[in-house]
């Protein structure tokens, strides 16, 4: 606590407000204990470079319980005494549990799910064990159906939906917070950030009206990943939870997810922080574990993409290029038209594939359906073209040209931030039989038709693709590869 102030805000009139927060009831005994802090709250100005110290702030003592009458009388007397004697102290106001509850209901009540289906989703998320991956389907459904379902006529309501989404998400994530499940928290905050951007676009809100909430969410994304990094680097291995059932492919999937995600965090820091220093410990962990990384399907691509990017700017280009080449060869081999079992599309998560491979899935997955096409082959080809790796493509073009390039093309560009949408087309096309290298290089470096939305939220998109790998496309991967 700093000088009796837990939270400092500026109200709608531009006045500074300082809050001291207490849990439980405040009776005379407790009051006497906290009096020193309260005096600091009202007597000392707010110390912050952007706060005018000559301006007297408003002070609030906030308790989520009750404040007894004796304490109220003492506060009244203290305020009167300060005024009477002309002391330039701040006036102390109180906010008790009941006032808090009323204000909360006024502000958030509208967004507490009323519809039974949404209420069920809310409870399912809230009552989950918190040790598993985030149920993304349900989470997106809840956000988009309960909070961001309508575009209200009043802009203020739309803005308040965004603020409320942050609070509702905080509630829902408590089981994951208790378990320190940083990866699930990362997934949740990233999903929320994506929903906020989409909603703000659809509601045509001014950026300054919602960027505060967005930045708050973004800081939670970075915080969750930083905590994941701390925990990972403290460990000797990637085992987790009950060892019975762990290991093998589960272990390899976990290592790939964790290292790929942490590589994405480093990519973010590298891009946004001028004084970025590469993390040798993480780099060592990636290099030590490179042989156990597992490409379970095309949804693993974003993890590999970030590892490749991280290795490249960490002067490990040779390892990065080997990894990229290995990805190309894996796709060509597994997804050739005559293959019996192709690498699954990005719509199948690591868990889906693990269940299928371990024979514990309830729904049968026919892996032969993935042969003959790929969502990531074209992206890898363009990455190789950007790196002038003509010889690899030249050697493999005959095989490549038999495999269809797949892409989901959205009707509305902001739906890139949706989990699923009806509005779009499942597109497939064959590579050219005879392909010009010059044209390929030109295409790989041409970003003239890329939507502005991608450019504006590129850092979010890099995280978002880890959460929703089925949203990969050549424009986003191209931008992240070339410009990020």
């Amino acid at each position: 606590m700093e000088q009796g102030k837990d939270i400092v805000t500026i109200d709608e009139n531009g006045d500074y407000c300082a809050y001291q927060l207490k849990t439980g009831n405040i009776d005379l005994n407790k009051w006497r204990n906290i009096l020193g802090e309260v005096k600091e709250l009202i007597e000392l100005p707010i110390t912050h470079p952007s706060v005018d110290k000559t301006k007297i702030h408003k002070s609030f003592l906030v308790a989520n319980g009750e404040i007894t009458d004796e304490v109220r009388i003492q506060i009244d007397q203290m305020n009167e005494d300060n005024q009477r004697k002309g002391r330039m102290y701040s006036y102390l106001d109180i906010i008790n549990g009941q006032t808090l509850l009323k204000e909360f209901i006024d502000a958030q009540g509208e967004f507490i799910p009323k519809d039974l289906e949404n209420f069920r989703l809310f409870l399912e998320l809230f009552l989950t064990d918190g040790g598993d991956f985030l149920p993304k389907d349900n989470f997106f459904s809840f956000l988009n159906n309960a909070i961001f379902s309508d575009i209200p006529k009043q802009k203020s309501k739309a803005i308040s939906s965004i603020s409320s989404s942050v609070i509702m998400t905080t509630y829902m994530l408590s089981p994951y917070q208790i378990k320190n499940n940083f990866y699930a928290l990362f997934e949740a905050w990233t999903s929320l950030a994506a929903c906020i951007v989409r909603y703000a676009q659809k509601a045509k809100l001014k950026k300054e009206d919602w960027i505060g909430s967005f930045n708050l969410v973004k800081s939670e994304i970075i915080r969750s990943l930083s905590l994941l990094k701390n925990e990972t680097l403290k460990r000797e291995d990637f085992l987790e939870g009950d060892w019975l059932g762990d290991g093998g492919l589960i272990y390899r999937a976990r290592a790939t997810i964790v290292l790929g995600t942490l590589a994405a965090l480093e990519v973010y820091f590298h891009k946004t922080n001028e004084s970025y220093v590469k993390d040798e410990k993480l780099l060592k962990s990636i290099k030590d574990n490179i042989r156990i990384l597992w490409c379970w399907g095309e949804s693993a691509f974003p993890y590999f993409f970030n590892i490749i990017k991280y290795l490249e700017f960490s002067n490990e280009k040779q390892i990065a290029q080997s990894l990229l080449k290995a990805l190309l060869e894996a796709i060509i081999k597994s997804n050739s038209p005559k293959s019996q079992a192709g690498l699954s599309t990005p719509y199948y998560s690591a868990s889906d594939i693990l269940e299928a491979v371990l024979g514990i899935n309830t729904e049968r997955t026919d892996f032969s359906q993935f042969a003959g096409s790929s969502y990531i082959l074209e992206l890898i080809i363009l990455m190789l073209a950007r790196r002038d790796r003509r010889e690899i493509l030249e050697k493999n073009w005959r095989k490549i040209s038999h495999i269809q390039f797949k892409e989901f093309k959205l009707d509305d560009i902001e739906d890139i931030f949706l989990w699923r949408t009806e509005k779009g087309v499942n597109h497939a096309e064959f590579p050219k039989m005879t392909q010009s290298w010059k044209e390929l290089v030109k295409e790989a470096n041409d970003f003239s038709r890329v939507p502005d939305l991608y450019l504006e939220y590129l850092d979010l998109l890099n995280f978002f693709l880890l959460v929703c790998p089925h949203r990969i496309n050549k424009a986003i991967i191209g931008l992240l590869d070339k410009k990020y």
Partner: protein, 197 residues
């Protein structure tokens, strides 16, 4: 309400559905067509090798399952399993129709049609049909010959005719020549699959 067993029933429902899907997949023609699951979107497009864009909408396929209440009471889930065969047949028909409608749409558009003009299916027609299509070859040089889908009547007649055609040295030569031509075409195509300047 009366006591229910929803979880068990849900599992049985899934098992019956899986059985139905398997029955549909067993159909010799449909089993050769690769099925792919799409998770979102409302249409599909395919850009062909010649740059044509073909668009299709999703179509619903369904079959009715009608079971007497008494059968459900006495036989339980077996009542559904016994009757699911007819539903599978209905779904097979609809699926096959979809495939043939699409084939017709594409071949009408490209003109890749051999018209028998009501005449019997002869060896000449057979060769003419093969001439019109691409034939690929495996690494050992064996052709991937296409599946011939015919009516049951024609199927019976062809069963009689095929040994005759195979025994006819002239027909055999024409067929081998055609395969050689197709091999050359395939080799040309494959050698065109390359990265150039």
């Amino acid at each position: 309400m009366l006591p229910d067993f929803p979880k068990i029933k849900e599992k049985l429902k899934k098992a019956i559905n899986r059985y139905l899907q398997n029955l549909v997949r067993q159909e010799p023609f449909l089993s050769q067509i690769r099925e792919e699951r799409h998770f979102e979107g409302n249409r599909m497009t395919l850009k062909t090798q010649d740059g044509e864009l073909d668009q299709s909408e999703y179509k619903e396929i369904s079959g009715e399952l009608s079971i007497k209440k008494e059968d459900i009471i006495t036989k339980g889930p077996m009542a559904f399993i016994e009757n699911v065969y007819n539903t599978a047949e209905e779904i097979k028909k609809q699926k096959a129709k979809l495939v043939f409608d699409k084939l017709k749409e594409v071949t009408d558009k490209t003109g890749n049609v051999v018209n028998g003009k009501g005449q019997p299916f002869t060896f000449d027609l057979f060769i003419e049909s093969l001439e019109k299509i691409w034939i690929d070859f495996d690494d050992q040089g064996r052709p991937y010959l296409p599946t011939l889908v015919v009516s049951p009547n024609l199927g019976a007649k062809l069963k009689e005719k095929l040994p005759e055609w195979e025994a006819n040295s002239e027909y055999k030569k024409r067929f081998e020549d055609l395969i050689e031509r197709k091999r050359k075409e395939w080799n040309d195509r494959e050698s065109n699959r390359k990265l150039v300047d």
